[in-house]
């Protein structure tokens, strides 16, 4: 079972570290291992790094992952530095030891089975069976352990011990371990769940006991407890490798995806920018294919044949299926006043990161007066442009009515039935005139009006929020305050505009 199991575990760890590995590639990896063997670790690493990771980035991740994973484990699924013969030998030895021992409690056959599967920490294993007595207590009678964990330890059954450990792990959700500093914490929780406090109490009681058999038990329990601790640590380590985010980056990204954009700390801006770019890229590749197909004409065979009939069947006049010339437009109107500025920042970033697949975007910013900022974006880098927009337009109190009037004046003529208008704002109008009739006009003329509100749905229509009025004249109203929402909105947008 060794090799396949180890490789598939390793691949799980890889996937966990964001390297995409398909089943086909898993099979490739297996045949690579068959071919190169596992004696030469460097060679194996080089070979696997050709078969598994498929970008330069992934290769770096792979390198780190490989080193980390095989630091503890040999490819055969055994502890490093242990050769097979050794392990068998030891198995026999300790088997005998178990028989000879009074406290063996018939765990031996199972123990041997178990050993083949999990032969880690063999050195420690010896301690379990061989009595290393301290000088003053000779071998001899031992009292029974009382605490449940103590009994379990004295029962000498590795199967039960492992089961109990797995159960404890399950109970405290060890799979949720995320960062490596939590390893100690989880190890302790598992120990606690298994009944460590009782055991500790028992040990300290026993060690001060006057009876020799009891003290003997105390020593024995202490040793076994230390061994158990080692085992639990290994177990947690393994779970960490398999389940956790080894670099810690994914955790942050995961968190940032759903965190409210207004709450993003400044130091995380870079990471968010990266993520926006990544998400935009993903959406781009998803949608670029379809657009390509659209751009090409196709030979209209029936029509061509029909029209060339008169030339004695010689085809020289070709007819193409008409290429659909659909140039959808997107107008983005962003409230950039203090409360919404951050959302606007990231939405604009999103829209402009997708220029490959996104139809032409014209953007407008307002707090009290509205102005077109498209040019600014075309001339500057996204980050600079956004900074400039926020600086130039974010003063003044929000006036949606005025902004809509301005927008109408600026480009009502450009709005037609292929236009999508996105309004990003909280619709808090400071109790001013809403001019919802302007939005109605836009609603009637355009293909779609999408209103994105960064506030939680519950807060809509409270206080000076005019969401009800504006919502009536929008095709779609959505709560949008995290990257996740943004991604969904933009993806929908692409689906409909293409």
């Amino acid at each position: 079972m060794g090799v396949e199991r180890t490789i598939s575990n390793f691949i799980r760890a890889l996937r966990n570290a964001e390297v995409r590995v398909s089943t086909a590639e898993t099979l490739d990896a297996m045949s690579v291992v068959d071919l190169v063997g596992y004696e030469d670790k460097a060679h194996l690493k080089r070979s696997l790094s050709l078969a598994l990771p498929k970008t330069a980035d992934e290769k770096n991740t792979f390198d780190a992952c490989f080193d980390q994973f095989f630091q503890f484990q040999d490819v055969r699924g055994e502890a490093a530095n242990d050769s097979k013969s050794e392990s068998e030998q030891e198995g026999e030895e300790s088997g005998e030891g178990g028989d000879g021992e009074g406290g063996g409690a018939g765990g031996t056959p199972q123990t041997q089975n178990r050993r083949k599967k999990k032969s880690k920490s063999k050195a420690k294993q010896n301690n379990l069976y061989e009595e290393e007595e301290e000088a003053d207590l000779g071998p001899g009678e031992i009292t029974e352990a009382h605490s449940p964990l103590g009994k379990l330890l004295m029962a000498n059954s590795r199967v039960e011990l492992a089961q109990s450990m797995a159960k404890a792990g399950e109970a405290i959700n060890v799979r949720e371990i995320q960062i490596f500093t939590q390893k100690g914490l989880y190890a302790r929780r598992i120990m606690d769940y298994m009944g460590l406090p009782d055991l500790n109490q028992e040990i300290s009681d026993l060690r001060t006991d006057s009876r020799i058999p009891a003290r003997r038990l105390g020593q024995e329990l202490k040793q076994r407890r230390d061994f158990l601790r080692e085992q639990v640590r290994d177990y947690v380590e393994q779970q960490f490798m398999l389940n956790a985010d080894v670099s810690g980056k994914r955790l942050r990204e995961e968190m940032l995806r759903s965190v409210k954009l207004s709450n993003v700390e400044h130091r995380n801006f870079r990471l968010i920018q990266e993520m926006v770019y990544k998400m935009a890229k993903k959406l781009s590749t998803l949608h670029s294919r379809r657009r390509k197909v659209f751009k090409r004409g196709q030979l209209n065979v029936p029509k061509t044949l029909r029209n060339n009939m008169s030339y004695d069947g010689a085809i020289f006049d070709l007819y193409w299926k008409s290429v659909k010339v659909d140039r959808p437009k997107v107008f983005a109107i962003c409230d950039v006043s203090g409360s919404v500025a951050n959302y606007a920042r990231f939405m604009l970033m999103f829209l402009y990161s997708m220029d490959e697949v996104m139809p032409k975007v014209r953007s407008f910013a307002f707090s009290s007066d509205l102005a077109e900022v498209t040019e600014l974006f075309n001339r500057n880098k996204i980050e600079d442009a956004i900074a400039k927009v926020l600086h130039d337009y974010s003063g003044g109190s929000t006036d949606y009515g005025q902004a809509l009037l301005d927008f109408k004046k600026l480009c009502l003529d450009d709005v037609d039935n292929r236009t999508t208008i996105i309004v990003l704002g909280d619709a808090r109008n400071n109790h001013g005139e809403t001019h919802a009739e302007v939005l109605k006009e836009l609603y009637d003329r355009s293909k779609r009006v999408i209103w994105l509100n960064p506030e939680a749905k519950l807060a809509w229509n409270t206080g000076d929020s005019e969401m009800r009025k504006y919502g009536a004249y929008s095709h779609q109203v959505e709560e949008c305050n995290s990257l996740m929402h943004l991604e969904r909105v933009v993806s929908n947008l692409l689906r409909q505009t293409n």
Binding site: L35, L50, A56
Partner: protein, 312 residues
Amino acid sequence: MGDMEKLAESVSSLQAAFEAHRYICSEEIATAVFLAYQLRKPILIEGPPGVGKTELAKTAAKMFALPLIRLQCYEGLDESKAIYEWKYGKQLLYTQVLKEALGEVLGNAKGFRESVEQLHKFGDIFFSEEFLEPRPLMKAIKEEDGCILLIDEIDKADHEFESLLLEILSDYQLSIPEIGTIKAAAEPPLVFLTSNNTREISDALKRRCLHLYIPFPDVDLEQRIVAARVPEIPPALQQQLVAFIHELRTLDLKKMPAISETIDWARTLLLLHADALDATVVRDTLNVILKFQEDIDNVKGEVTAITAKVAK
């Protein structure tokens, strides 16, 4: 055949063989060729321009003594240029010639139905392999003793073209609607694909290939490469120039000097009979290693400092 197996029997033997053909490769590269040969899988090679991606395929062809079939990709490349095309001219010509023989063929057929039936017997003569013009991919598949197929700059081709490649890459076969499936000869071609990463290659294609990333070489490897390619160069100068190039790569440049530039520069310096790098020579020959005026202007100021550093 035996030779080939012997060559590809281990990574070190491959490395030595490449070296004999004056292609100095890292262990990664040799491992890639080794695995590609043993597992019969295509290699997708990525890396900055000028690190020897295409050269690897060419050298492999020389080394294995196999024909090299090269398909240069560009936008708009399609199956009629990559796989096969019907010889329309020949088809037309034959129809004209055969018009006269038509009477004989239809000889004693009476009526329209019989004539058509008669014609059916001749089957699809015009769409047989006789009239097929094989293009690179088809040629590679039909090569009896195997060959090296180099699909160069796959990132320049369209998305759709990648899908076209999937069949040949995973099963070494091609399907032609009129004829059927053509399978590779006993020895399938060894396929190299190169990409400069101007766009993301699709996952489906990547999944079918081994992926080799060739970065800029380290100082040691690059020195060996220069020594192999320009053996006449004095060792002292060679060390200095490689060190200089490595310094350049740490700067922010529009286009980093690649191995091919290093080699060109070495040849240039040799022509100029330079024994050691000095600031004047470097400044005069900077246009050999840097291809943008902006880069040249940026570096010019630093030349003295870098030369001094390298000369140590």
